[in-house]
Assembly symmetry: C4
């Protein structure tokens, strides 16, 4: 699957929202999801809805510049989705979730511009990775209310060697993308899992070192 | 949506109770929920029921002084709900949940009268907040079996600059309100999420500092 | 509700098992549940079944001495259930769950014969408690494969002033009871919640003390 | 139940996948499950599917050498499943999950070749264990992309006295098996529970030692 029909994308984005909420990564109205459509426009979630209880009518269409093609106010972060599609023509879906763990990590390393995952079998979930004997870099950028500032900060990091198809905005949340919605969800799930595994590792290390 | 019809409020409060229980914030019979009704009275949960398994018949009506207008014993904390409605005429729903994390936080800072959240994108869930470059104050007051003591303690804190539409009773739980039930639930979810994110942050910081 | 009919008890015990499993307190075949019946016998869960997937046929009847009155092998711990009913004639249901947190606590204090909860509003869930300004004692006894050894150890602790209607067997799990199944479930949920809240409190304290 | 018919095995493996995913142990496409069939071949999960959303068509058949007997690409780790069946003729099902806690533990002890569980009542879930007054050893081996290297490392550990019917591949995940699928699931659940309980124990110990 690559670019989708609007009706299919709207249904699929609502469904993925329910799963992301069930993980606890979509509190309140946080998060936004998108998919590239077969006519070159994009399906994006409407602003202000709970992402665990979306109906197909809560998804709208925007053009490549972010202009609304159907009624509704697109998410304020639509621009970050579109910039990702522009930077990665092979990307057809972008998911943005908010887990306590990912945000906790980003704040625990306030000066860092990346978090490096090394030696995990789970890294093989990421496209092109065939061995655990590697490392992937999760870019971390500071938050801003100006989307162009975030995009300018993440653009070089996102293209660095070994960068994941994902990045973390500090004190905000995680962006993940893929060639289709399934791949984007796999990248999101695997990245959150890696963060949870490293938090558990620290818990065991810390407890045993006492 | 502002003030509700009783039948709608009863159904909606039962439904929100199931979601709060699914988060693990409604153990045993803990918690109580209310909504302002269109006739000036209030719908409140009956005392002693499990809040994850409410039916519409477990919701009763009280007047502004807390007198029962329908059969049943209102929650002992009804007075805190009513005081919130009196203090904030724009509030139309109040939710009171009990999470282990919120109560754990309140006991970890036994002398504190607030917990300050700074720099979180999630702060934008709160009404009137348009940037993460801010801080919101969650008032914390000591518990009492005399509701007027709790109310007297929280009243000034609740009106302080930057106070959230929520407060935490130490060793007890979290109150949250909003202009409608959806907003009150968003405030509750976002506040609990913020507490969980800061606990995760401490776990990462502590583990790495070892 | 007090003593139940067998059919009602069997249905209700299967249902409570699903909720206990959903909390993560019934891994593998761990746990066993019982209810006092209106004819003086007892409904108990059959040994070796997953407690999150019980059907009414997985519940059997035993007499007050633990002899099977219907086909099936009663849980090896039936004797602890019966001893509780003998000690507390007002008890009509006993639940035994296994949470990682409760067992973790019991092992973290290998010499302790109790854990004291102080100042929690949640204490008011326990029968007879009307204020948070109190303390309740959760007896902790060492595990044994001889049920009479466990029972002998817990008997005096269970009758001590301020003892909860619950006890924790070290490295094993939690017993809780009540005047009906609803109360027993409330005691179990509240006790597990208290343990989770104190673990969260330690996480905050420890993180902030770094 | 011992060896199964293919249709029954396919249905049962899909169902167990949903439960493993609900625990959070099957992120992205991670994990693979198998069962010995009554004709001497094996049912295994197809590579690349989300294990929480399997349909019966996502299960294929392979022979004892791992050759596909039905269309599809078997999991890359099929060989570890087959080696387990060869080593333990009484094993009829093998489950491989990925929990953050198990992987966190394996990384927290980078030099260890086992983790020993002592004195847990939960040990009685494991076949042949009749008392908590024992210890079971969970073998831990380093990860490799060469399955024969993993198998060679684990083979002696797996046969050591007191070894669980399970092993942990470092930075990767947990293998568990049993005489039928129910037993394999019990071993998986009990092992993950033991790891979670010991992490909670460390959290309490560490917090109290501050």
């Amino acid at each position: 699957m690559t670019a989708m029909r609007f009706e299919d994308a709207a249904f699929a984005l609502a469904e993925v929202g329910r799963r992301i909420d069930a993980h606890g990564w979509a509190p309140a109205t946080a998060g936004n999801y998108s998919a590239r459509l077969d006519d070159g426009s994009f399906a994006v979630t409407i602003s202000g809805k709970h992402k665990g209880r979306l109906s197909a009518g809560d998804i709208m269409r925007v053009d490549a510049a972010g202009n609304a093609l159907t009624p509704g106010k697109p998410s304020a972060e639509t621009w970050l989705h579109l910039a990702t599609y522009h930077a990665f023509p092979e990307a057809n879906a972008v998911l943005h979730g908010h887990s306590p763990q990912a945000v906790g990590l980003s704040r625990a390393v306030p000066e860092a511009s990346e978090w490096v995952f090394r030696g995990h079998e789970m890294l093989k979930v990421f496209p092109g990775v065939t061995t655990h004997e590697t490392e992937l870099r999760l870019p971390i950028v500071d938050n801003s209310q100006d989307m162009t500032v975030i995009e300018a900060a993440v653009a070089p990091l996102r293209l660095a060697r070994g960068a994941m198809p994902a990045y973390l905005i500090r004190s905000h949340g995680l962006y993940a993308w893929g060639k289709d919605l399934e791949e984007a969800e796999r990248v999101l799930e695997a990245t959150e899992w890696l963060i949870a595994a490293e938090l558990a590792e620290l818990g065991f290390r810390n407890g045993m070192a006492r």
